[in-house]
Subunit: 402 residues, 2 copies
């Protein structure tokens, strides 16, 4: 086979993507950071920024798209509705979404990004990455504290609000910007979440239980797994069909099956997790591959740093002050504000969607990814050295993504 | 989103493929057949043959390609070198490959297929599907009989010989047909299997053990899974690069990790199995989708029936007579000959490769798939009603693919 054909083959690209991801794991362990960080950094190194071994081909794009869908499906699987019922959690999350959204929009505007890009950059600042903070809290044995409960609950609500914010942003940039059309978009997103949630709970969740009870599942337990992944992609398609992002759908699909106890078809949860390991790794690799640091300018560097500071401060203020007003101590409020600050997969996916739709530039995309990486690296250090400084106790990890 | 865009979206195609596969599971259970049969039948029904809901797009092709690679990787994982060391097993397998290959070639020639197509049709007759017979033997509690041991060992050797036959066929049809070039191809395939096997055993198998022992794996057990799948695609790429089929490579990669005992990274085996459930299901669905029975003629129907009879008889005679000559009783020899007759995933993959390279026609492809289906349906019936007729005992299933 000629070398040019090999380099564009499915098999070459798959093995190279996984090689880069594996290198990411090795480097993450070495620098004692989340695997996500190592994988993205390796994606940057092997991508056009440096070595140029791997580029963002249509194949990589398709695999990354599948990865994002599977990733949000597994996030949805961990969704606990009972964790988010308290009004104060909802308030912390809501203010913690609105403040960064507005501030991100204004800062981007100040840096001469156009309206659509500014809306998207603001949106990318909304969603907290629960994985990072939960890992830190768990390592420090702080998961049972009041502050930790608030962080986790608010971060879960954040996931939904972030997805809603994304839906609204897509509506804003796609059409006229009247109050009416804004309300229509918000209504559509809300309706999708409510109807999708209800259908998920009352039809697809019941069907998975029926399938699990059936003789089919006795003979073929894997049929439940196929069913679950089918629903994930079906919801992703439905979300796309009504003009929302595919990940809003797959998150809802996952949430429909959250906490379910199956007798024979329990493998679907492990199976989804295993799919997520491979396709999540490909997704995070691709995030680094899209970045081209060779085109990164000094002004973008300044923007990235400002954006990162804004990202940190808006969560610290938005969530922290709301927490204080809800009755938490100053110390707990600072912990909550800091703990909510890391941005992760959702911010990156939002940036990617903006880039793929031509709404944000390559440079703005890179700034958002770097902002996510920096917040993710800084917050654990802040939590360990400033917020909870009494010392650490080892504990089991919980809710780990990669 | 406009309806035409939805119908070509990744999410729509993924959910539809999995829907068809799930329907295949339901029908398989209903008609008490292997899931593979139900899935392919559903692929035919939802494909261009009948409903035309789903077609063989580039996306489906890519996913099916990944499916075939993962499938043969998991087959390789079950490969036991110690099972195939007896000369009589090797002889049974070898004669059982050569006789159908030659007979298939001659019959296809008699039906006016050209040289290249005839070579491929012959090749598709070579490889036994171990899954079907092993399931039947297991259900009947006959797995520990001498005949069963011979069937399983010979079928395992068959996998390799079938892949070698495929490699040789690809060599034959790609170039001049001199004895020298034939020997070169055979030498290349043999060298690939030997070198790939040695490198796999002495480098990649050791590396997976080292990774499993390392602190990286302690922190991220999933890194072993990513490593294993990376090697699967790397081997698939290497096979393609030297002009062999990707599945030859992924089988070898799987065989490199067969029987390995890992401490923390054991999830790689489950993970590969879970990938295989989803992508295997997509692969078998796609096999049905490619078939277009609307273009199926009476002469092709006659050819299919003749090919099926030839497929059954050549294994019965080739393996059965060799077994008798190796010292088995007549009864055991008939059991061995019958048990070796089902053709499965390898035959189908070979047909698919022939079709995608334009070597066999749509009609010949369909004939091979239908031949595989019919042998798979008939052999369990023959085994249960004629060969082992003393009655059945329930037992645990072993080596199950779908």
């Amino acid at each position: 086979m000629p070398i040019s054909e090999i380099l564009t083959s499915t098999t070459f690209q798959m093995s190279l993507l996984l090689f880069v991801a594996l290198a990411g794991y090795l480097i993450s362990h070495r620098i004692n950071q989340s695997a996500i960080i190592g994988i993205i950094v390796m994606g940057i190194i092997f991508g056009p920024s440096l070595l140029n071994w791997i580029t963002y081909t249509d194949f990589v794009e398709t695999m990354a798209h599948i990865g994002a869908i599977v990733l949000l499906f597994t996030v949805g699987l961990e969704f606990q509705i009972k964790e988010i019922t308290k009004v104060k959690y909802l308030l912390i999350a809501l203010i913690g979404v609105l403040v960064p959204w507005g501030a991100g929009y204004l800062i981007a505007g100040a840096f001469d990004f156009d309206f659509k890009a500014a809306v998207f950059i603001g949106t990318a600042l909304t969603a907290t990455s629960i994985a990072i903070t939960a890992n830190v809290l768990s390592e420090m044995g702080k998961l049972q504290t009041e502050a930790a409960k608030a962080i986790i609950a608010a971060a879960v609500i954040d996931d939904i609000l972030g997805l809603m914010a994304l839906s609204v942003s897509e509506g804003i940039v796609s059409g006229d910007i009247s109050t009416v059309s804004l309300l229509i978009t918000l209504g559509k997103a809300t309706a999708f979440v409510i109807i999708g949630g209800l259908v998920g709970q009352f039809i697809f969740r019941r069907l998975i239980c029926r399938l699990d009870d059936s003789k089919v599942c006795h003979m073929y337990p894997e049929s439940v797994f196929i069913y679950a992944i089918m629903i994930a992609f079906f919801y992703a398609m439905a979300a796309e069909a009504v003009g929302l992002s595919a990940i809003v759908g797959s998150f809802l699909a996952g949430a429909s099956f959250a906490g379910i106890k199956l007798e024979k078809g329990y493998i679907f949860r492990e199976g989804a997790h295993h799919l997520q390991i491979i396709f999540g790794a490909i997704f995070f690799t691709s995030l680094g591959v899209i970045i081209n640091l060779r085109e990164f300018s000094l002004s973008l560097l300044v923007f990235t740093l400002v954006l990162t500071v804004v990202a940190l401060l808006t969560k610290l203020v938005g969530c922290g002050v709301t927490a204080k007003l809800s009755g938490y101590s100053w110390k707990d409020s600072v912990a909550i504000g800091t703990g909510m600050a890391p941005r992760g997969e959702v911010a990156m996916i939002i940036a990617l969607i903006g880039l793929s739709q031509g709404l944000v530039t390559q440079g703005a995309y890179t700034s958002v990814i770097l902002m996510s990486l920096i917040t993710t690296i800084i917050v654990p250090i802040l939590l360990k050295t400033l917020v909870f400084k009494e010392g650490r106790q080892p504990s089991l990890k919980k809710h780990k993504i990669l």
